[in-house]
């Protein structure tokens, strides 16, 4: 089993802490990160991604506020015992994100082919980043 990874795009207008929070939320909700799994220490993840410790800390704080993780001194940050997101809810969430993306693309006057190509490029970039 390969280690799940996080990717941060520094050119994305979404702040890095929010990118991290979203990816970790998806990994926890999708069951890739199970209850009790330990997240990387703040300093380690910050160093690996070339981010400030506070940026990673803000992402973790967001997850903790949502009840997805618990932090204890000495025990690190662990995934809380949350109910896995049902498949129907996952689909609804993806549809919502896709609607937002298509709407923004239309505002830029992009046609369907350009929308699909952009999506493919984004998937390819993420795959390349995971591979390296």
């Amino acid at each position: 089993m390969t280690t799940p990874s996080l990717v941060v795009d520094t050119t994305d207008p979404t702040p890095p802490y929010e990118q991290l929070r979203r990816q970790l939320t998806d990994l926890i909700g999708g069951g890739t990160l199970r209850a009790g799994a330990r997240l990387p220490p703040l300093r380690q993840l910050a160093a690996d991604l070339g981010l400030a410790v506070g940026t990673v800390g803000r992402a973790y704080a967001g997850l903790e506020a949502a009840g997805l993780v618990t932090s204890r001194r000495g025990a690190g940050t662990r995934v809380a015992d949350v109910v896995r997101r049902p498949a129907a809810e996952l689909r609804r969430s993806l549809d919502r994100h896709a609607e937002t993306f298509v709407r923004d693309a239309r505002l830029l006057a992009a046609d369907d082919d350009e929308v699909r190509a952009a999506l493919r490029r984004a998937l390819d970039r993420r795959e390349q980043a995971r591979a390296t």
Partner: protein, 291 residues
């Protein structure tokens, strides 16, 4: 000047062990990549270690030639080890952070225990504890010498009319500056290991990246070994001589003196092992050689 022949003997023994280790291939199994960012990290951290070692040799030689009543030679090896540790820290701090717009990191937890050498680590930890215990005991049992310097001799009333004082004794006159250097060295070692573990992961080859971290942590462990074993051998030898040679010693003094006769050769062997590890760096192996 009994220190010089002893130092030459130890140096010869160390070089012999290092040469044997190289010839038998004990070292060099930890490999680093020959290309890519991982190689750059290996070069940067390796240069830090080497610089620390070279500066440490100079500092050690200078220290050995200075200091009152043997304090300089006593601190020479710990100061050398301290410089190696500082070199490791400097090398780690010079590793550049990840660049580029797309950055990836695995969700993994790296622990110090993942990289500590399995045999050397506990052996060095045991040596550190033994040195601590020895210095506490010798400080507690020390007396003033004939010129009133505290903790520089071991005194005992032998009978109603006679007494004896033996020195030099590794009491507070020696143990306090030594403990200061050793404690500072342990703090630097802890910081160095933390930096090695937290260093950004180079994703091109996780196995080699781990091997490089293991090599760095081994260097830190060996430096700590040198930091504690050389004073343990020196202080132990003087303490054993005093405890076993003085008139009418209490039972506890005899027990500790005999225990030191066992500890000293073990500590000497550990110190030589650590010195050999510091002198013989890991041999680089092409990236494709390790999968």
């Amino acid at each position: 000047m009994t220190v010089l022949p002893l130092a030459v003997l130890i140096l010869l023994l160390t070089v012999t062990v290092a040469v044997l280790a190289t010839l038998t291939g004990v070292r060099g199994r930890t490999s680093v990549a020959s290309t890519g960012r991982l190689a750059a990290v290996a070069v940067t951290t390796g240069r830090g270690r080497l610089a620390g070692l070279l500066v440490g040799v100079v500092v050690g030689v200078v220290a050995a030639r200075q200091g009152l009543l043997g304090r300089g030679p006593m601190l020479a090896a710990p100061l050398l080890a301290l410089c190696v540790l500082l070199g490791v820290v400097v090398g780690e701090l010079r590793v550049p952070p990840p660049q580029g717009t797309m950055r990836a990191a695995g969700i993994e937890v790296r622990r110090v225990s993942d990289y500590l050498p399995r045999v050397l680590g506990p052996a060095v930890a045991a040596g550190t504890v033994l040195l601590g215990v020895l210095l506490v005991l010798t400080s507690a049992w020390g007396s003033e010498d004939d010129l009133g310097r505290p903790g520089r001799s071991l005194a005992r009333v032998c009978s109603a009319t006679a007494g004896e004082a033996r020195g030099p004794w590794p009491g507070s006159y020696y143990s306090l500056p030594l403990a200061g250097v050793v404690l500072f060295g342990l703090v630097v070692a802890g910081f160095a290991v933390a930096k090695v573990v937290v260093r950004p992961r180079e994703g091109e080859n996780a196995q080699l990246d781990d091997a490089l971290r293991r090599s760095s942590v081994t260097t830190v462990t060996a430096a700590v070994g040198l930091l504690v074993t050389v004073p343990l051998v020196g202080a132990g030898a003087f303490a054993a001589s005093g405890l076993l040679g003085i008139c009418a010693p209490p039972v506890i003094w005899s027990v500790v003196g005999c225990a030191l006769l066992v500890v000293i050769p073990l500590a000497l062997g550990l110190g030589l092992w650590c010195a050999a590890l510091l002198l013989v760096p890991a041999r680089p192996v092409p990236a494709g050689a390790v999968r």
